[in-house]
Symmetry: D2
Subunit: 436 residues, 4 copies
C-alpha cells in the first residue's frame, strides 16, 4: 500500500482494528447461536454482546503484545477479549478453528471493499454519463491505428466508456458474490465439533452465504476470480486513461486534464500541461493487474489447506482494493473536470482537407453510374492533391472543380457527402442502447 | 498450439475453413437483410444462400493465393466467393468494415469453443460426482500444511472439487455471455453506412447479442474477462491435479493414476508409477493462466482501435481454448479411472497411533471435570509416547492404561472418542449442499 | 506457434527432425566416449558415426509409429536407430536416463535459437545505427508526457534505441550461458551408472558447459532466467514500436512505416497509412512477455524432478524464440525502411510559436539581472499570447516587441536563445558514448 | 509493504529520510562540480557540504508541508534546504531536471538494496554449504514425480540448492550493474543546460556508471531486467521452500522446520508441526514474481518519457526488495536450523523393500549372461512380491531364494547390488564442482 494512493475509508477496512471488530462479531454470533442450541450457556453470548454494547476501544497494542508471547493471533485476541469480558468469554470459539474466523473475516472485508468500489463505479458512471450527454453531438475524428478514419462524436467515445464500466459493474457484482461466503466448519471442514446451524446463523448475521463445502479454508478459486475481476476493471481504467493521454498530446489537444485558471501550467511554458493523473492511472492499472497473478497461483493449495495463500493476501487484499478505489476516484475526477475543446476537435477533423469523406464520394460516384475503376481514379487524383498540400487544399473544392466529377454529381450532391450529420444519424440509437 | 495437447473438435474450430464458413454466414445474413430493406437487390442474398446450399468446399489455398496479391484477408475471401457465386456477390459487405466480420467471427468461435468447454466441464462434474458417491464415507486423513489434521472422507475431497468446478461452470456461462456479441456497425461504430437493423438480424441468426456500442471493434474488456475466466478454471484444474500428485507419492499412495493390469509400471520397478498426467496438467494450467495476461493488456487499444490485439488473439484464441479443452478431458479421464486405495487411506489414518484423536480426548477430559491444565498434561504425556514410537504404540491403548485418565473416562468412553463416525455425521449435509 | 509469425530457420530448429538429429549426436558422442573408456565396445560408437556419415534421412513417421506402441519417445527413437544401424546400436544410452538426452537437447536448441536471435539483434543494431547517423542532427521536438518539451534530434532517439538493444545483446549473451549446459548424469544426477567424463565429453562436442550438479534434470532457474531475458527484449521492441506508432499519428506524422510509391495507402484515402507492423509488434511483445511467467513457475519442481515443466516448454520453447526472431526481423525492416520526415519534424517543432524556448529566455533574463519574479512575469505574458494564438504568433517576435524585455536583452541576444544548435552541442558526445 | 515481512535495514532505505539524503548528495555533488567549472560560485557547493557536515536532521514533515503548497516534491525539498543553508543554496539544481535527481536516487536505492540482498545471499549460501557438508553422505531416496527413484544423499540435495543460489548471486551482480547508472542530463537528455562532466562527477561520487544516453529518464529496460532477476531468485526460494514442505509431510518426515524442545507442536498433537515458514516463503515468492510484470510493462514509455512508471515503482521498488530481503533471511534461518532426520531418510529408503535397487540387479543379470527377457522376468516376479507386501518383504532376500537368480549371481554379488556406496562414488566430484 502506497499512502499517496490510498483513501481513508478503504484503508480503514484493512486496519488491525477493523479486522478485530469483525473477529469479535464472528465469535460473538457463533457463541450466541451455540447458547441457543444449548451447547454453551446462553449467558456467554449475552456477556459478549453486553460488553460490545459499551463500544469498547480495541487495544491493538495489547493484543499484539499477547501475540508476541502466544505466537498465535486468534488466541491472542481471544485472550484479550476474555480479559475484558471475564469468565463467560471462555465459551468463545468452541469447536471452531482459526481459519473459520480468518477466512470469514476476509470475506467480510472484501465484501465491504466491494461495496466501496461499487459506489466508486457508480460515481464514475454518473460522471461519464453527464459528459457524454453534454457532448452527444460534438463532432470529432474517429481514429483507427492512430490515423484519422471517419467522424464520430465525443459523446460516442464516452458512451463506449460508459458501457464498458457498466459491464465492469456487473462483473463486480458477480465478484462480490464469489467471495461473500462464510465458513464455520472446523479444522478440516467436517463440522466435527460444531453444528452447521452455527455457520448458517453467522453467515446470515454478516450478510454472507454459507460456503457449501469448505476444507480448513474457503476455497481460493473464489478469490482468484475476485482479484482477476479487479484486474479487468483496471484494464478499463487504463483504456480511458490512455484515451485522455492521447487527446492531450500537444499536436492533438482535444481535451486536457483540468488545471485551475490561475495555475497556468509549468512555469513559463503554458503548453506544458501534462496528463499526469492519467499517466499515474496507467501505472496503477499495471499494479492491479499484477495482483491477480498470485491470486491465481493461490488456488492450488495442498490437500485441506496450506498457508501459502496467507502472505499473498496480506499484500493483495489491501493493495488491490485500496489502489483500485483510489484509481476509480481519480478517474472520476478526471472525467468530471476534463477540459474538452470542441473547436480543436473540429479543427483536427478538418485538418486533412476533407479526406475523411473520400469514401462517401467514391460510393456516390458509383451509385451515380460511374464505373468503380473510374470513380476510384477520380477520387484519388483529387485526394492526392489534398494530401500533398498537407490539408491546405479542400477536397470538396477540388471535386467541385473537376469536370469529370461534376458530370456525375452536382455541387449540392457533393456538399451533401461532406455533411457530418450523415455520420451521426444513429447516435441517438446508440445512446438509447447504452443509457437506456 | 501443441498438437499432442489438442483434440480434433476444438482444433477444427480454429482451422481456416471454419473461420471462412463463419465469414460467409455473416456476409450472407447481412446481404439478405440488406435485400429485405431494399438497400441491395433481394436476389443477392438469395444467390449466396443458394450457392451455400450446394455445400461448397472452401478452397483455403485459393483464398490464400488471392490474399498474397491483395494483402487483405477479407477482400481475398470476398473475391473468391464472388468467383464462385457470380455477379450477385458484388453486393456483399455493403457498408461493413472488415472488423465487423473478423470480430463477430471471433465471437462465434469463442462461443462455440465455450460450448465444447461446457460439455467438458459437465463430463468432469459427472465423473467427480460418481467417484464422490462411491467414496462418500471412505475415511481418509485430512491434512493441513501437509501434516495430518483430522479425519475426512475421500468423498468430501471430491465434493469439494465438484463444488469448485460447478462454480467454474457458472463462471464459464458468464464468460460466454461476455464474448457472445455481434458488431456490424461500420468503420468507427457509427452505423454511418449500414443500418443497425442489419446488426440485429445477423446477431439473431448467429445466436449472439448485439454489441450496444462498438468502435471499429468489439471492446476487448470482454475478451480480457473471458480469458481470465479460463485462467481461473486452469487454477482449479491444477488444484485437483496437485491433489492426485500428492496422493500418489510413494509414502502416501492413497490413489494413483490408472495403469492397466498388464502394464506393471516402468520395467522392473513396480513402484515406479508416475503421476505424469496430472504433472502434465499442472504445466498446462500454467500456460492457460499465462494467456490471460496479454488479453488484459489488450483492453487499452488506442482510440477507436489499434490492431495490437490481433496478433495476441491469433495465439491465445486457439491456444487457450484448445489447451483447456484438452486439460479438462484429460482430468476427466484421470478422475474416472483413478485407482483409489481405501486400505492405504485407513493405514495412513492409523499410522500416527491415533494421535489425530487427541483433541477430542482433551475436550472429553475437560467436560468430565478435569482441569484444562491437567487434561492437557494427561493427553500430552501419552501422545508423546506414541509420537516417539513413530506410531507403533496406540494412543487409545496408552490412555486406557493411564490411571489418571481412566479415573475420568471409562474405556468405552475413551473408545467412543476414537470413533471416526463422529467426524462424518455431517457428511450427508455437505453432500446435500453440494449435489442437491 | 502462429505460422504467419514464424521464419523458416528458427522454426526448423523446433521440428521433430532437428530434435532427433540432436538426440542422435548426444547418444553417439556418449557411446563413443564409453567405447574409449572400455565400458562398451569401441566399435559401437564407430558404427553409429559410420551410419550418420551416410547422411540418413530421419524417418519421423516411423519413429512416431514406434512411440505409439512403446509410449516412450526416447526408446522409440533408440529402437528406430537400432533398426538402421544394427546390432552395435544396443550399446547406446548405457547408464543414461531419458532426461539426459531431452534436457541436453533443449540446451542445444535454445543455444542455437539464441545464435539466430543474436544475429537478429546485430542486424537490428546495424539498421538503427545507420538511420541514427543519417539523422544525427535532424531536429525534432522532445516530448515528455506526450507534450512538447525541448528539442532533441531524431538521431538521439535512435541512439537511445541503439543503446537499449545493445544492452539486450549483452543480456542475450548472458542468457545463452544460462542454458548452454549439458547433463549426462543418470536417473537422479549421481552418475551412478555413467562416469562424469562422458558428460564432459558430450558437453565439449556440443559446445556446452557441464551442469555442475543436476538432479534428474537440468535445474529450471536457468530457463526461467532465459525466458525472462527474452521478455525484457520484447519490452524494448514494444518501446520502439510504440515510438513509431506515435510518430505516424495523423497529427504528428514525423515518420511512417514504409509503403511503396505505387501503393498509396488504402484505396481513396491517401492519409490512411496505418502503422500495422508496429502495432503487430506490440501484440507480439505481449506474448513474449507472457511466456516468461510459466517459465518462472517451472523452477520449483518437486524433489529431483517432476515433469510439469515439460508441457510448458513444448509451448514456450518454440513460441517464445520463434516469435522473438520474427519480431526482431520485422522491427529491423521497419527501421531500415522507415520514412522519416524532417520537414514535418521542424514544422511540429515550430508549431508552438517558439514556446519551447521560453525556459532559456527566462534564464537569460535572470542572468541579465532581472529578478526571478519579473523575468517570469515578462516571459509568461508573452508566452500566453502565443499559446492563445495556438502557435500563430511567434514568441521571439513578441519578446522583441516587449520593451521591458528588450531593456535587458538585445534582439540578437534574444535570437540566440532560439537557436537549436544550443541544444545539440553534446550530440557528438552522446553518439561517441553510444556508438564508440 | 507488509510490516511483518520487512526488516529494518532494507525498509530504512525506502523511508523518506533516506531518499532526501540521497537527493541532497546528488544536488551537492552537482553544485560542487558546477563550482569547479565556474558555472556557479565555488562557495555554493562548499556551503551545502558545510551544512551537511553538521549532520542535520531531515525534517520530512516540513518538506511535506512545502510540497502541499508547491505540488512539486523536488522544489519542496530544494526550498527546505535553502531555508537551512541560506542564500548560497539558490545555485542548486542549475540546469538539472527533477528526473535527474529522482532517477539517480532510485539507482542508488536499488544499488544499496542489492548490496543487502547480496549479503543475504552470501549468508544463505554459507548456511546451505554448512548443512551440505554435514550431510554429504547422508543417504536419502531420490524422487522423480514424487515417486522413489534411486538413492541420493541429502548433501547432494543441498549442493543443488547451493549451485542454484550461487547462480542467483551472479545474476544479482549483473542486475546491480543494470540499474547502477546516473543521469544528470537535463529535461530531454541533451545536456542543453548542464555539462556532461557534471554527470560524470556525480556518478563517480555515488559509485555509479554514467547513463550513456538518457531521455528525460534512465531507460526502464534496466529496471525490467532488475526486477525480473529478483523474480527468478524468488523462484529458487520457492523451490527450496517446497522441498522442505515435502520433506516435512507426516508420511515423509525426513526434515522439519526448527521448533524448540519446549515447544512440542500444537497443544496435545505432537505430530502437528507445520512447515509454516516455508509455506509463507512460497506465498512471498509469488508476490516477488508478480512485481516483475509491471516493471516489464514500464519499458515502453512514450517518447522521451511518460510518468506511468512512477506509480509502479513506488510499489515495487520497496515491496520487491523488502520482501526478497525478508524471504532470503527467513530461508537462511530455516536452513541453518533445519531438523534433519537421517534415520527416517534411511527408513524411507528401505520402505520399499529394496525395490530401488531392482534396476541394478537387472543389469547385473544381463551382464552375467542372462537374456534381457529372462532377466526382466526374474527381477519382476520378485519385485512384484515385495510391492504387494507393501515393502514388508525384502527384494534381496527373495532374490537370494530364487534359484534361477542365484544360478547367475551369488549371494555376495547380489548384496553388492544393494550397496548404497555404489551410488555415492561421485558425490565427491560433484561437491568439488559446486563448492570448489
Amino acid at each position: 500500500m502506497v499512502p499517496r494512493y490510498a483513501r481513508p475509508e478503504m484503508s480503514a477496512l484493512w486496519e488491525p482494528e477493523a479486522k478485530f471488530r469483525i473477529w469479535f462479531e464472528i465469535e460473538a454470533h457463533a457463541t450466541q447461536k451455540l447458547g441457543e442450541m444449548g451447547v454453551v450457556p446462553e449467558s456467554a453470548g449475552q456477556a459478549l454482546w453486553d460488553w460490545w454494547a459499551t463500544n469498547p476501544k480495541i487495544d491493538v497494542e495489547a493484543i499484539d503484545a499477547i501475540e508476541a508471547v502466544t505466537k498465535h493471533d486468534v488466541i491472542a485476541f481471544l485472550t484479550w477479549v476474555a480479559e475484558q469480558v471475564g469468565d463467560e468469554a471462555r465459551f468463545m470459539h468452541q469447536g471452531m478453528t482459526s481459519s473459520d474466523v480468518l477466512d470469514t473475516t476476509l470475506s467480510v472485508q472484501l465484501a465491504r471493499a466491494t461495496d466501496i468500489l461499487m459506489a466508486d463505479l457508480d460515481a464514475l458512471l454518473a460522471a461519464i454519463k453527464k459528459r457524454a450527454e453534454e457532448h452527444k453531438y460534438t463532432p470529432t475524428i474517429g481514429r483507427s491505428h492512430g490515423i484519422h478514419a471517419e467522424p464520430v462524436t465525443f459523446g460516442l467515445k464516452l458512451a463506449q466508456a460508459y458501457a464498458e464500466f457498466d459491464r465492469c459493474r456487473d462483473r463486480l457484482i458477480a465478484a462480490r458474490k464469489e467471495i461473500a461466503t462464510c465458513a464455520v466448519s472446523g479444522a478440516v471442514g467436517t463440522f466435527a465439533n460444531i453444528d452447521p446451524e452455527v455457520e448458517a446463523y453467522v453467515a446470515e448475521q454478516l450478510g454472507l452465504e454459507i460456503e457449501p463445502v469448505s476444507t480448513q479454508v474457503i476455497p481460493r478459486d473464489r478469490h482468484a476470480m475476485y482479484f482477476s475481476t479487479l484486474a479487468v476493471i483496471a484494464g478499463s481504467i487504463e483504456r480511458l486513461a490512455v484515451e485522455v493521454r492521447h487527446l492531450q498530446r500537444t499536436e492533438v489537444l482535444e481535451a486536457e486534464e483540468y488545471f485551475s485558471p490561475g495555475q497556468k501550467g509549468s512555469s513559463a511554458m503554458p503548453h506544458k500541461r501534462n496528463p499526469i493523473l492519467t499517466e499515474n492511472l496507467t501505472g496503477q492499472a499495471r499494479m492491479i493487474r499484477a495482483y491477480a497473478l498470485p491470486a491465481l497461483e493461490n488456488v492450488a493449495l495442498w490437500h485441506e489447506r496450506d498457508i501459502s495463500h496467507s502472505s499473498v493476501e496480506r499484500f493483495i487484499g489491501p493493495d488491490s482494493t485500496i489502489t483500485l478505489d483510489f484509481a476509480l476516484a481519480r478517474l472520476t475526477g478526471v472525467v468530471e473536470k476534463l477540459l474538452i475543446y470542441p473547436e480543436r476537435m473540429q479543427a483536427n477533423l478538418d485538418a486533412m482537407g476533407g479526406l475523411v469523406h473520400s469514401q462517401r464520394v467514391l460510393l456516390a460516384l458509383t451509385q451515380a453510374g460511374v464505373s468503380r475503376e473510374d470513380a476510384y481514379r477520380l477520387v484519388q487524383r483529387n485526394a492526392m492533391k489534398v494530401w500533398e498540400s498537407n490539408g491546405a487544399l479542400s477536397l470538396l473544392d477540388l471535386l467541385k472543380s473537376d469536370d469529370e466529377v461534376t458530370a456525375a454529381l452536382s455541387a449540392s450532391e457533393l456538399e451533401e457527402k461532406f455533411d457530418l450529420a450523415y455520420h451521426f444519424k444513429h447516435v441517438d440509437t446508440i445512446f438509447a442502447r447504452v443509457f437506456g
